[in-house]
C-alpha cells in the first residue's frame, strides 16, 4: 500500500484519530507511571519531613545510609535466596508437567485445572493457609513428616519455606505458558527422532528444550523479575516479632515498611531505586546470555 503523501487529508485524519485514541492511555500512563518513575528518583534525594513539615534535600545521604545499612544488604541476600530457589524449581517442575500433559490423555484438563488453581486464589489466603500448614506445634506438615521443624521461624530455613509457597503458587501459570509453547513445536520432529531411535529423555533434551527455548527465556525473565519483587507472602507469613524476619524480609518488604509504616518515603524511594537498578542489571545480563542458549527460527 502506497503511503499517503505528506499533508493529505488522509494523513491529517489519521493524525487526529490516532491521537484521540491514544490520548486517554497516554495521559494516564504519564500521570500514573512515567512521572512517578522520575518523582521516585527525585524523592530519593530527600529526607521526608515529619508531620507536614516540608521535605529536606539531603543529596546522596539516603544512598550513603543505604549502602551502610546491614538490614538492606541482608534483604538483598534474602531476596536473591528466594529468587534463586523459586525461579529454577518452579520452571523445572512446570516444564516437566507441561511435557507430561502435552498429549492426548485421560484427565488432561482436570490436571491442568488443578495445577492452575492457586493462580485464582488471593495471595493473602494462600499465605495464611501455608502459615497454618507450617505451624511448628499444630501444623499438618510436621504431623505428616513426624518432625518438629520451625518452618517459618527458624532463620536458617524460613526464606526457603516461603519459596516453597512461591513455587506452589506459580507452577500452574508457568505450565500453561509452556504448554502453549509446546503446541507450536511440529510433531514431525518427534516422529523423525523416534525413527532415529531417540528415546523420550533424549527427545526432551534435544528437541523440546531447544525448540521451547524462546518460551523458557520469556518465562525466566518474567519470573526473575517477579521473584525479586516478592512481598505478599513474606508480609502475610512473617509476623513482626518472628525471629526469622530479619533473615526473610525482602527489598520490597523493606520498601513497604520504610515508606508506609515508618513513613520515611525518601528512604523508601531509595530502596525502590536500588531494586530498579538490580532488576535492570539482571535483565540486561539475561538478554546478553540468551544469545548463547535461545534458538529462534
Amino acid at each position: 500500500m502506497a503511503k499517503p503523501k505528506k499533508g493529505t487529508s488522509q494523513e491529517r485524519n489519521e493524525f487526529i484519530w490516532g491521537w484521540a485514541f491514544i490520548l486517554p492511555t497516554m495521559i494516564g500512563l504519564i500521570i500514573l507511571n512515567i512521572y512517578p518513575i522520575f518523582k521516585t528518583i527525585y524523592e530519593s534525594f530527600f529526607k521526608t519531613g515529619d508531620f507536614g513539615r516540608g521535605n529536606v534535600f539531603i543529596g546522596f545521604q539516603n544512598y550513603i545510609t543505604m549502602f551502610k545499612d546491614a538490614e538492606i544488604w541482608q534483604a538483598v541476600i534474602n531476596t536473591f535466596k528466594y529468587a534463586i530457589v523459586e525461579v529454577p524449581f518452579s520452571i523445572a517442575i512446570s516444564l516437566v508437567l507441561a511435557v507430561l500433559l502435552n498429549r492426548k490423555m485421560f484427565g488432561r484438563s482436570a490436571y491442568r485445572t488443578i495445577f492452575f488453581l492457586p493462580m485464582v486464589a488471593a495471595p493473602a489466603a494462600i499465605a495464611m493457609v501455608w502459615r497454618w500448614l507450617f505451624n511448628a506445634e499444630f501444623g499438618l506438615l510436621n504431623h505428616i513428616f513426624g518432625t518438629s521443624i520451625k518452618w517459618v521461624s527458624d532463620p536458617k530455613i524460613a526464606v526457603f519455606s516461603i519459596a516453597v509457597i512461591g513455587i506452589w503458587s506459580i507452577i500452574g501459570y508457568n505450565m500453561v505458558l509452556f504448554i502453549s509453547g509446546l503446541q507450536e513445536i511440529p510433531g514431525d520432529y518427534y516422529e523423525a527422532a523416534s525413527i532415529d531411535g531417540a528415546t523420550g529423555i533424549k527427545q526432551f533434551f534435544h528437541i523440546t528444550i531447544p525448540l521451547l527455548s524462546p518460551t523458557i527465556f520469556f518465562v525466566t525473565i518474567t519470573r526473575v523479575i517477579g521473584g525479586l519483587q516478592v512481598f505478599d507472602l513474606i508480609f502475610m507469613v512473617m509476623d513482626r516479632n518472628n525471629p526469622a524476619l530479619y533473615k526473610t524480609q525482602s527489598l520490597v518488604y523493606l520498601f513497604y515498611q520504610n515508606s508506609f509504616v515508618e513513613n520515611n518515603k525518601g528512604y523508601g524511594s531509595t530502596i525502590v531505586v536500588l531494586l530498579l537498578a538490580i532488576i535492570m542489571i539482571i535483565t540486561v545480563f539475561q538478554m546478553i546470555a540468551q544469545k548463547k542458549w535461545v534458538h529462534y527460527n
Binding site: K3, N13, E14, F15, W17, G18, W19, F21, I22, P24, T25, G28, L29, I30, L32, I34, Y35, P36, I37, T40, E43, L97, G107, Y111, R112, F116, L117, P118, M119, V120, A122, P123, A124, A125, I126, V129, L133, E137, F138, L140, H143, W168, G172, V176, L177, S180, I225, G226, L228, Q229, F231, D232, M236, D239, F255, S259, F260, V272, L275, L276
Partner: protein, 274 residues
C-alpha cells in the same frame, strides 16, 4: 513395547496425581480447619483430620465481624472499575498503535514498552501522594486509580489488531466509513476474545492486589487487605482465619471452574507479567 508404554502411562499418572494432591491439600486443609473448633484444630494427640461436628459458627462470626458483604461489594466495584477502564482505554490505544500512522506514535509506544519493563513498586509512593493530595484516600476512586490505564493491555490489544487482515479496513473505507466507524463497527468486535482475556487478567490481578489496598484504604477494604488486617487481630484463631480465607477465595474459584478455558487463556496465554 506395549507393556512398556502402559507402564510409562501409569508412572506418568502417578506423578500427576501426586502433584495434584500437593496442589489440593492446602485448599482441603483450609476447608477442614474452617469447620473445626479451636480445640480440635490444635489437638495434637490425637491429630484431628476431620471435624467431629461440621460447625458453621466460624463462618457466622467472620461474616458478622468483618462485614463480608461489604468486602465482596468493595472487591466487585474495584474489579469492575479497573476492568472497564483498562479494556476501554487499551482497545482504543491498541487500535491506533496497530493500524494508524501518525506523528509521535513511535515515541508514545516506546513509553508503553518502557512502563512494562519497570518494577511496579516504583510508581506507588507518587501514586499515593497524588491520591492523598486530591483528598481521595479511603475512597473507591483510590482503589481503582492505579489501574485506570494499562500498558500491558495496550500491548496485548495492539497485537490482536495487528493480526487482523488489512482488507477489512479498505472495504469499510470504500463503503464510506470514517476511522472511528471502522474501528467501532468493523475492527473492535473482531478483537472480542482479546478484550475478554484482558478483562479476566485485569480482574484476577485486581483481586489479588494486596499492597495498594493496604496503603490507600482503611475503610473501603477489598478482600485481600481485609484478610491481612484480620490476621493481625486474630493471630491464632486458625479456624476463623481459614473460614475467612475460604470465603474470600470461593467466588473467584467458582468463576474459574465455570470459565476455565477463558481464565487460563486470559491469564496465561496472553503472556503477561505478574
Amino acid at each position: 513395547m506395549e507393556a512398556r508404554e502402559k507402564m510409562m502411562n501409569i508412572i506418568i499418572h502417578v506423578v500427576l496425581v501426586l502433584v495434584s494432591i500437593t496442589m489440593l491439600v492446602p485448599f482441603l486443609w483450609m476447608i477442614l480447619t474452617a469447620f473445626k473448633t479451636v480445640t480440635e484444630s490444635t489437638s495434637v494427640d490425637p491429630f484431628v483430620i476431620f471435624p467431629s461436628k461440621w460447625l458453621t459458627t466460624n463462618f457466622e462470626t467472620v461474616i458478622n465481624n468483618m462485614d463480608f458483604i461489604g468486602l465482596y461489594i468493595n472487591t466487585l466495584l474495584l474489579i469492575l472499575g479497573r476492568v472497564v477502564a483498562a479494556v476501554l482505554t487499551a482497545t482504543l490505544a491498541g487500535y491506533a498503535f496497530a493500524r494508524l500512522e501518525f506523528r509521535g506514535k513511535n515515541l508514545m509506544f516506546s513509553l508503553v514498552l518502557f512502563q512494562m519493563m519497570v518494577p511496579g513498586q516504583i510508581f506507588i509512593i507518587p501514586q499515593y501522594l497524588m491520591v492523598s493530595n486530591m483528598g481521595m484516600l479511603n475512597t473507591m476512586f483510590a482503589l481503582i486509580f492505579p489501574g485506570l490505564v494499562t500498558a500491558f493491555g495496550t500491548f496485548l490489544l495492539r497485537q490482536a489488531y495487528m493480526g487482523l487482515p488489512r482488507d477489512l479496513e479498505e472495504a469499510a473505507r470504500l463503503d464510506g466509513c470514517n476511522i472511528g466507524q471502522t474501528f467501532l463497527f468493523i475492527m473492535a468486535p473482531l478483537t472480542r476474545s482479546s478484550m475478554v482475556a484482558l478483562g479476566i487478567f485485569t480482574a484476577v490481578f485486581a483481586y489479588k492486589d494486596l499492597m495498594w489496598p493496604l496503603i490507600c484504604n482503611r475503610d473501603l477494604m477489598p478482600l485481600s487487605a481485609a484478610l491481612a488486617k484480620m490476621q493481625g487481630q486474630y493471630t491464632n484463631n486458625y479456624p476463623q482465619l481459614m473460614a475467612a480465607s475460604l470465603l474470600a477465595c470461593i467466588p473467584m474459584i467458582v468463576l474459574y471452574l465455570i470459565f476455565q478455558k477463558q481464565f487460563i487463556e486470559g491469564i496465561a496465554t496472553s503472556g503477561g507479567k505478574l
